[in-house]
Amino acid sequence: MLTLVLPRRLVGLEGAARRSASVAQRNVDALKTAYWLVMLGGLLEPVLYLFSIGVGVGGLVGEIALPGGRTIGYAEFVAPAMLASSAMSGALSETTFNFFGKMKFMRLYEGMLATPVRPIEIALGELSWAMLRGSVYSAAFLVIMVLLDLTTPARALLAFPAAVLVGFAFGALGMTISTLIRGWQDFDMIGAGQFALFLFSGTFVPATTYPPVLRWLVEVTPLYRAVDLIRGISIGTLGPVQVVDVLYLLAMTGAGLLIAGRRMERLLCR
């Protein structure tokens, strides 16, 4: 009985993986010169922040004291946060703006759903693509961090999968948001939310400097967890808290995918 059921299961999974990959590949096909420019913009943003604030403002701030008593340069403190937030914004722009456009205006998914591809496979495929795009940013930014001596090559290698995980988590979140959006006007709200996260997630100032209530609030937000994880790796202060960060981001990925798949089914397979 088991031997009969198991191969079928595996074949089913393989089919799902292949179909998800075909959805992601559609985006590779659509890659044209103009799109590359957009991607370049995504890379430039965190680098500009790093130089203007990390290095520029950092010159005025000087050293920053960690809870353990160790002090590090301000740029060293800010850089991992820039990496985390660029992983976030890369994933979000792909899964909100682009995803919504494909769903509502190009109606691409209607076409895909007339083939064996299922809603959850579209969600997975689009998320994989968002992650792939985010990984390019992350890798490039990590190279810059190593070159500026803001982290070591070994830590950078470990920080890379962490940044990918951050991309996954925010990509899944963005897709869920996309299925709830009513129209383009809602994108202003997403932008505002994203900017608030960017400013107050322990990015430029340690969360320990906030009043307790605010600090608690900041620490449950997803970008804070992402910054905490990547900073822990890049400055070498890994501890049990980072396990919480990883679990948090994994849960976010799973929940986001599940909800997005369900909502898409309800929206498109009426």
Partner: protein
Amino acid sequence: MNSLIHARGLIKRFEGFTAVDGIDVDVRAGEAFGFLGPNGAGKSSTMRMIGCVSPPTDGVLRILGMDPRRDGPRIRARLGVCPQLDNLDPELTVRENLTTYARFFGIPRRVARARADELLDFVQLSERADSRVEPLSGGMKRRLTIARALVNEPDLVLLDEPTTGLDPQARHLVWERLFRLKQQGVTLVLTTHYMDEAEQLCDRLVVMDGGRIVAEGSPRALIETHSTREVVELRFPTDDQSGYADKLAGIGDRAEVLPDRILLYVGDGDDALAEVHRRSLSPASALVRRSSLEDVFLHLTGRTLVD
């Protein structure tokens, strides 16, 4: 079961209204089958259920002998779907629209490329293969969508209003291609609210109105059963055509009074028209024609198809 599509008591309900209200349908391999009806008759909802993208609310539905609720992906692998509104990928070229779509079916790249070239040739778009989709005309886009629906060599092709919104020339080109497919033995299922389309393409059709099937048969049989051989269309120079209805009483089998004209259902149109003149009635225009599916629909539902 030899039916490619088998439906019994098929129902689709949305919040508050019933789009498809218990229909029975059987479509056999190799035939061209049509759903004829006005907008809102439930044709598209039926097509979406057959295409396994919309779960039936109730009733039995088997596509290619399988259950859409359980075997959706396996069924869709063998269907070709041409939706009512084009959903081609504007970020891809004409050829890529076919090759990328082929990948969703798991068709290997080389096979997909060869098939794309064949299909572009078939729908007469080879010269536009490397063009983007956007500059194409409506008719070209529709032909590309039809080509896309054929990329997996489907057992069953679903066409939802294949020529709605196209100009006459583009429509004829689409019809001609669909007719070729039919001759190749491809099973076609289409919806339309154009009676000429149904007459030209369908071996058999059902007339739908308000979510139900009101008649079924070949175009010829439907006309023979539900209408007379010929029709006389009379327009009188007045705002109220109905005033003339009494004066026409007794000519032919029956008359339909429309806002702008009166239709007389008769065996012989010329005889009937002679009788009209004998009664010294002088319509502004008079036309004798053969009965069409439009007349069948009018008779069955009391309404015209295109409103």
